[in-house]
């Protein structure tokens, strides 16, 4: 466990010492802030629903950009060989990197706490859906980080890793909006695969075990896939 924390620490330091963290977080805040507040006053409703509606799409761009380097860079430079021959297991490396990604997403979400605080001054804000929304955002972020890690393990090229990661995250987000393409018998299954569907459930403030199980499964599948890919490489 200590090794996981050390690796996570190192990855986080890498993000915050280099400009990546600041660029990505500012873009995230600009995009979400702009889209949320331009329409916020029309609706005249004190809630964060629009902010959370937008989150899955923003995350599908943002998170692969954050995770693309985690394995690709190591494979490209060759430092993976030095890392893996230190007394660490592959599990330590994987969990450390995953945790660093999740903490990064959390760090990007922290400044947005100012939105509900700001709104609470102006009207009656219901805190239940807000808390649910942030929990959901973290779960959604974690599953996209796992997907991004998987994409990153596939290739040495960070750009390919980004595009593959984004494609998968995007599909997960939008698949339940495209149900009319699929035969009727599959609708239930495919609807269930949509990340947005589960996220919006939680963001309404309803904590359903099915939604939690969905996100945890995506995390597990992503991490396990990464494990298989990296094992295959050696």
């Amino acid at each position: 466990m200590q090794q996981v924390i050390r690796i996570c620490n190192k990855e986080l330091k890498d993000y915050f010492i280099s400009p990546i963290a600041y660029i990505v977080i500012s873009i995230f805040l600009l995009v979400t802030g702009w889209f949320f507040f331009t329409t916020f006053f029309y609706y005249n409703q004190a809630d964060l629903r629009n902010f959370f509606n937008l989150l899955p799409i923003t995350f599908s761009f943002l998170i692969p950009a954050v995770t693309m380097r985690l394995f690709s860079e190591e494979l490209n430079v060759g430092s993976y060989e030095m890392l893996l021959t230190l007394p660490v297991t592959f599990k330590d490396i994987l969990l450390g990197k995953f945790l660093a990604g999740v903490l990064f997403v959390a760090a990007a979400l922290v400044p947005t706490f100012s939105y509900p605080i700001f709104i609470a001054f102006m009207g009656q804000l219901e805190w239940g859906p807000v808390a649910g929304g942030y929990l959901g955002a973290l779960l959604l972020g974690a599953s996209f980080v796992a997907v991004g890690l998987f994409a990153s393990s596939l290739t040495r090229n960070q750009i390919i890793a980004f595009i593959v990661g984004m494609a998968i995250c995007f599909t997960l987000t939008l698949i339940d909006k495209m149900l009319f393409f699929f035969p009727g018998s599959l609708l239930g299954v495919i609807g269930y695969l949509g990340a947005d569907f589960h996220f919006q459930n939680i963001a309404k403030g309803i904590i359903d075990s099915r939604d939690i199980v969905y996100f945890l499964s995506v995390v597990f599948i992503g991490l396990y896939g990464t494990h298989l890919v990296m094992q295959e490489k050696n």
Partner: protein
Amino acid sequence: MIHIENLSKYYKDLCAVDQINLDIKKGEILGLLGPNGAGKTTTLRMLTGYFMPTSGTIRVKDYQLDENLLEIKKLMGYLPESAPLYHSMLVYDYLDYVAGLRGLDKNKKISRIRQLVDLCGLDEIMHRSISELSKGLNQRVGLAHAMMDDPEILILDEPTSGLDPNQIAEIREIIRHIGEEKTVILSTHILSEVEATCDRVVIIDKGKIVANDRMENLKQSAGQTHFIHLDILRANFQDVHDRLSGIDGVAEIEKINEKPNGPLSVKVACKSASDLRETVYHAIKQTDWVLIEFHQETKTLETIFRELTEED
């Protein structure tokens, strides 16, 4: 210390390492020698647990590689070829990170990093970014990485590749120094490196071990035959051949090259370990040829290496 049995590695259909058996004793400096693509790096990677062998077993002390990988990693320090370090980190941060992963506690960390800084000469660069380092400095940081935990076994993959002669001498000095107490395995395709640093040589070619012996024995087994090199002006090869082949003990006379108006280069192979220089000199003195180069060569590691790894 290390026991390798029937070790093989296939990349799809390509056989990189083929049924290698090897024992390495404690306190030995072993040189792994071979042409490019012979399987040196693959062997070392399997030894460090980075690659899984296709078949065969590796035991280090009492540990089996596939069962106690973590224990074995703790015993080993490994420097991969060209030392791929994290480019974005500072040298100090990197060493600190490695020390942490190696499980050194806070006080030990600082004193150990100090020692390594002295040993590898890193004083000046501790607060520079790794991406700014020259090849030689990068290699030295890599060496510090490998030696962080004062490991019992040190594995170095081409530790001197790409360095300038001064740096090579420095790195060799460090390796010899470590080799006094530790087991060192180093791979290289530079022969003089092995001669300068290693106790034992293993020559690998096309995934197979073709020689495995102490340095002195290897040279002895080559028969200690001498060659005499002659550069002669104003002579043609036929005359030289006739004159020298009469000498007792000469096995073969070979023309190396001949330039018009330039010297004729001849290589005379001697039959036994006997020294023919005096007789050859007297034989030439009687003619009006001008001898401008005259030296004797013993069969070196280089010739042994070439014979063993030559393409058929």
